[in-house]
């Protein structure tokens, strides 16, 4: 399954319009700096980054589904592989991996690692900003995107290269599968 997803990721990435990576990295850095200046409280900046990501994710999922050939994922592990191999490849140009040992017993929680992360290039965190989750926007994107396909998840960063780890690691937990509510008519 992972091999198919990888191939799909490559195919979609090839067809995507691309922008200059440095431009992207530096623009993101500028956004985070501005947020810090505006809010001054690091926790608030983390929240805002996640919220921004959430709004992006709500829209990104439709583009993802339109461009890639992935249909509905039948199980959460399939969703995990799709995000890692197709999703990240399509939008960030890097491939993530799902840590096989990170699954919990009910298969509702996993860790996804990114060995390369274009967002953090050229970036250094000063000591007084150590609680900043620099890549929190990605957590929001995952949460927003999955919510549009009926899954409520929580995503948080558990390892960050800016804090000395060698990879970026996200922990994603499926909280609830949402069901369609039938809208009641007025008549």
């Amino acid at each position: 399954m992972a091999a198919n997803k990888q191939k799909e990721g490559e195919r979609v990435f090839k067809e995507q319009e691309k922008i200059n990576a440095e431009l992207f990295t530096l623009t993101y850095g500028a956004i985070v700096s501005q947020l810090i200046k505006d809010y001054e409280d690091i926790e608030e900046v983390n929240t805002q980054l996640e919220k921004m990501g959430y709004n992006i994710g709500l829209r990104l999922i439709d583009e993802f589904l339109a461009r890639s050939n992935v249909g509905r994922c039948h199980e959460f592990p399939e969703t995990a592989e799709t995000i890692a191999k197709v999703g990240f490849k399509m939008f960030l140009g890097v491939v993530g991996s799902v840590l096989p040992n990170s699954w919990n017993a009910e298969r509702t929680e996993f860790s996804l690692i990114l060995e390369e992360n274009p967002l953090v290039d050229f970036c250094e965190l000063p000591d007084n900003y150590s609680s900043l989750n620099y890549c929190n926007i990605i957590c929001g994107v995952i949460r927003g995107a999955l919510e549009m396909v009926q899954m409520r998840v929580e995503c948080r960063i558990t390892k960050s290269v800016l804090r000395g780890d060698d990879v970026t690691e996200f922990k994603i937990t499926l909280k609830e599968r949402l069901t369609d509510d039938i809208p009641m008519g007025d008549d």
Binding site: L58, D62, E63, A66, R72, D180, P183
Partner: protein
């Protein structure tokens, strides 16, 4: 048939076999986009007589359409002998309804005359090239709001559908 290019009138006589002469009209009647919760995000109609089509009547019809699609899809997936996600079209003696549903719950519906070919590719294009590019990526468009106000989307969709070969043409066999 007559041509006047050289001042010479040319008449051709067609011998038609009555049984083989079928006159069909290819038409696209209307196009709906529904959000997951039943809001009709977009609606356009063509080639339908205007009597009795008040805005209220159209709104009722949209609600009815969504209810139908919701129930039909549930019915089809439950009664299908093999597991299936959704349906592509249904056909009656008068019209054909083409359907595309995305995993995000967006429903694209196109009604054509009963002999039209499958419009799945057109619906996919409407999703991928029009909805994603001109509505989703429009920062001024709020998700879940009606798309009629989204000018870029509106004009392109109308253009795409009205210039489609199946839009309105008489096919005589």
């Amino acid at each position: 048939v007559s041509t006047q290019s050289t001042g010479v009138h040319l008449y051709c006589v067609f011998r038609t076999d009555r049984s083989a002469r079928i006159r069909r009209e290819r038409m696209i009647f209307n196009f709906y986009i529904f959000s997951r919760n039943g809001t009709c995000l977009y609606y356009e109609e063509w080639n339908i007589p205007k009597e009795g089509r008040t805005p209220k009547a159209i709104q009722e019809e949209q609600k009815l359409m969504f209810g139908l699609l919701y129930s039909l899809r549930g019915f089809i997936t439950k009664t299908s002998p093999k597991p299936c996600e959704t349906f592509t079209y249904y056909k009656t003696s008068r019209y054909k309804l083409h359907y595309l549903e995305t995993p995000t719950g967006l429903k694209f519906v196109l009604n054509t005359d009963k002999d039209a070919p499958t419009m799945t590719d057109e619906l996919k294009k409407l999703h991928q090239e029009y909805y994603v590019e001109y509505a989703l990526k429009n920062p001024l468009y709020k998700l879940g709001e009606p798309l009629g106000a989204c000018e870029g989307f509106n004009s392109r969709v109308i253009n795409f559908l009205t210039s489609h070969p199946e839009f309105k043409r008489r096919v005589v066999h």
